[in-house]
């Protein structure tokens, strides 16, 4: 029997959706062995988030709730999480592959003396140990690895599992964090992109590239994203336009930026360099709009329109808006 820990992410009092996806994967891993799923959340003011987490089907929620944890610190969080993982007797630890997951979980795994698989797209309990599959070599190949140490630790690519929910409320245990553990001090929050749909969690990503010719033409991209309604779509950008300073680095999709896997991805004026493709290849449906019918993006897209983005995108925006709002 193997208990599974999910490290949940709470931001501004709200539970992050990819954490519920990790719960789904955890329930699948624990299921056959009769193990329990324990969700650990770190932060300050976690009551609402833990109540939601508690109804996701987990067996127990541990809230490391207190002022010292109000903002994220890799060292302090890692020590506290590693301690709870030991206390839970976990055979596996899962978290979403977000910026926080990337920072936190390698440190946790080293504290536990074990390994980790990052950006996993599949995990399984098999023959008494755990396996995981993940994209490597810029998404040109996938690798299967087996954990040979315990616990098995993995971060999961967002939008790959369905979010869990609809369970009976699980008990929530509060643990006060020790203030001495925090080594990093937050000086300033640059609340860039506040209120926007996070790129990695978005149902739809509308990404633009060099084909838009000028920074101001990203309005077309923003309008198409907005047509899907609030909280649905996020704007992405290719490396070329981020390097050119048209868009912030936080919007960059690709190997050097964010890896996204939304149900629907639009690549607009993006040629499809491997660097970009590595960041969006696992999107369920990919639509490419490009003037150049030979652009490599059409090799990996599901649907393509060969045409001028300045004509196609407004027409598409109008069609989507009509469908969504009946206007």
């Amino acid at each position: 029997m193997s208990n599974v820990v999910v490290v949940a992410e709470v931001r501004g009092g709200l539970l992050k959706r990819p954490s519920l996806e990790a719960v789904t994967a955890a329930l699948q891993l624990a299921g056959p062995s009769g193990g329990k799923v324990v969700a650990i959340a770190c932060g300050a003011g976690l009551d609402a988030a833990c109540a939601e987490l508690g109804k996701s089907g987990v067996h127990q929620v541990v809230a490391l709730d207190g002022a010292p944890f109000a903002s994220y610190s890799g060292d302090g969080y890692a020590k506290a999480v590693a301690e709870q993982v030991r206390a839970a007797g976990a055979g596996a630890v899962l978290m979403a592959h977000t910026a926080m997951g990337k920072d936190l979980l390698p440190r946790v795994s080293a504290l536990l003396g074990t390994g980790i698989v990052t950006d996993a797209i599949a995990v399984a309990a098999q023959d008494g140990s755990f396996t995981a599959r993940k994209p490597v070599f810029a998404g040109k190949a996938t690798m299967t690895v087996r954990a040979v140490a315990a616990p098995f630790v993995a971060t999961l690519r967002p939008n790959t599992w369905a979010p869990a929910g609809g369970g009976v409320p699980a008990p929530v245990t509060k643990v006060a964090p020790a203030p001495g553990d925090l080594l990093a001090v937050v000086r300033e929050v640059v609340a860039q992109g506040g209120g926007r749909t996070p790129l990695q969690e978005a149902k739809v990503v509308v990404a633009g590239g060099r084909g838009l010719k000028e920074a101001q033409h990203f309005k077309l991209i923003e309008d198409l994203a907005a047509a899907f309604g609030p909280g649905v779509a996020a704007v992405g950008a290719s490396r070329a336009v981020v390097d050119a300073g048209w868009r912030p680095h936080s919007e960059q999709v690709g190997q050097t930026g964010k890896v996204v896997s939304p149900p629907l991805y639009f690549a607009i004026g993006i040629s499809g360099a491997i660097q970009h493709v590595a960041g969006m290849r696992t999107a369920r449906t990919i639509v490419a709009i490009n003037k150049d019918g030979d652009a490599p993006i059409f090799k990996i897209a599901d649907y393509g329109i060969v045409g001028d983005a300045f004509e196609v995108v407004p027409a598409l925006t109008a069609a989507i808006a009509e469908l969504k709002h009946g206007r």
Binding site: R11, K16, G74, D75, A78, T98, A99, D103, P106, R107, S109, A110, L111, T114, G115, I116, V117, T118, D119, T131, V136, F137, A138, A141, T142, M143, R146, L183, A184, V186, R187, V190, Q192, G193, T197, P198, L199, E201, H249, S250, Q255, T256, P263, L264, I274, R284, T285, V287, G293, F298, K299, D302, Y303, I305, V306, G307, E311, V312, A315, L323
Partner: protein, 262 residues
Amino acid sequence: MDIIVCIKRVPDLAEAGLEIAADGRGLRTEDLDFDINEWDDYAVEAAVRLKEQHGGVVTAITVGDEDAEEVLRRALAMGADQAILLDDAAFAGADPFAIATALHACIRSLPFDVVLCGAVTSDGASGQVGGMLAALLDVPQVALATGLEVDGGRARVRHEVEGGLEREVEVALPCLITAQSGLNQPRYVSIRGIRKVADVAIAARSAGDLGLAATAVGEAGSRVRLEGLLLPPAGKRAEILEGSLDAAVATLVERLRERGGL
């Protein structure tokens, strides 16, 4: 200031067609070009800039065989002062934990204020070594740095915590920082620059030199085992939606509705 930068030699995959090696666990490397991992390039640049501002010594370290010397030479040409090659047959087949173990054993015997690593590598894409190394060294870390300044024994680091939310954190030295793209624009390295450092001695260290048993490193010391590599089946090309603009858009919306994407 003592600055350590950990780097890796990786295949350049931008234009390369990949072939799986006969054992199914790696790539056929005969036709591949290799270079420094892109994120490690940012890390070296950041290390050299810190030295230029504050004085000190930059030490570049990699784990690999003699082929890996070329990335150390590149770091020297960029301004690193010394280079260490962790070279031992026992290091082969290492997972990130075993790599972090070897790096830790080397770095713990060196003075350091800042350790820099690339945020991730373009080959295995694990992004683990920095965080693991920070835990083993028991120093604070900041991952995915897009800005870095050091002053008065503290590092101020700008990094993204999640979708668009960036913040600046301050940590006491010694600390470990992983470099994200956007941190800097690495300087150009000319062939002449590399030639100039051709005679700089590169220190080689074996597992034994680092006080590590062969079973603690490489495949034996790894916590995850590679079972196999697969190339995805070549996808079919996109269905190109023809016709007038309105017709193409209407067909697209219809297709997306059929697939449940809308």
